[in-house]
Symmetry: C2
Subunit: 199 residues, 2 copies
């Protein structure tokens, strides 16, 4: 006799596909779901298939949206000639939340990572180059993560964009606001010294 | 402009309903799902609604099953007169995995917890009493958790079952196998002394 009834086992298997969800979490979620009112299970079920069915890449910025071009690309912005390149839609949301950037965005959907088999061809880089070729942009801000992959992607893009005569900048790295030097990691503190700025 | 497109925001909200899933995890799951092939999203979506639609309580043991009475209740067992009472279907699976129990099960679906508003009426206790009234059982093993709620539930059931003339036992508490006295918590070590057995 198997431990769980078939549809429950299938649900556990399906939930285990989610990122960060192991067998134990999936089992807990499955038991939770089958004990909820039918509407709750159906609501979650519908949200998953509906989102997957409706969401497409914006033909301009490559962000996820329901109607391409996305609301953000269709909207006029203050700095039409400024383009910010990010790894993911979540990064775009984080930058928007600062209210410090008023230009256009471009989402790469990842970073170059040979160890994970992610090459420039897997990212929305071709679309970026086509966009920049229009000559509409004065400056490109590379806002990929300050990680090995993010830095490698920024270096790759710098080499690719420089010949187009567009200024290329990189977001600053250094101590987070409110941090204490004493507890900062060496790499971050070292970078904050190298990138010191006049005040 | 909202941070996420509508169907994506609805998916994040829906996934946040899952136990142990906060807004950050839900966002990560949502972005993962909309980037998967359509079949993956549909598979998970279907598994959720299908399991919820098919699963019912077994009319005998109250465990979750697709056809009532469940496979386990329909199956002959070695100890027909022995009943093990557990809080949850997961606990039943854990006991089955020990291969030390060959009787019948009864699932309460929770434990008495006044602070969480869970009273005896919220558990499958009425069904347990009806089952025991048949006179088919010689002994009831109370295998609720050795927690405040589980102990309270066991004490409550003991008072309820004793008048029926059925032996009531409780699973042993004590040091886990392989544990070291030095690192055991006081409550567990104290219990292992109180419940010492002749060898």
């Amino acid at each position: 006799m198997s431990a769980h009834t078939q549809s429950l086992q299938e649900l556990i298997d399906a939930l285990s596909l989610l990122p960060g969800v192991g067998r134990k979490s999936a089992t807990r979620m499955a038991f939770y779901l089958v004990r909820q009112p039918v509407e709750v299970a159906h609501k979650i079920s519908f949200a998953i298939s509906n989102a997957r069915d409706r969401i497409v890449f914006c033909e301009i910025c490559q962000n996820l949206c329901e109607i391409s071009p996305c609301e953000r690309c269709a909207h006029p912005v203050r700095d039409e000639d400024l383009l910010c390149v990010v790894e993911s839609p979540q990064d775009l949301v984080a930058i928007e939340a600062t209210h410090e950037f008023h230009g256009r965005f471009h989402v790469l959907h990842g970073a170059i990572s040979p160890l994970d088999g992610i090459t420039p061809a897997d990212l929305k880089i071709r679309e970026l180059v086509v966009r920049l070729s229009s000559g509409a942009f004065r400056e490109v801000i590379l806002a990929t993560n300050p990680s090995v992959e993010g830095e490698a992607t920024a270096a790759y893009l710098k080499r690719l964009i420089a010949p187009l005569g567009i200024a290329v900048t990189r977001i600053a790295s250094g101590l987070p606001m409110g941090a204490q030097l004493e507890f900062a990691d060496k790499a971050t503190l070292g970078r904050s010294l190298l990138d010191r700025r006049p005040i």
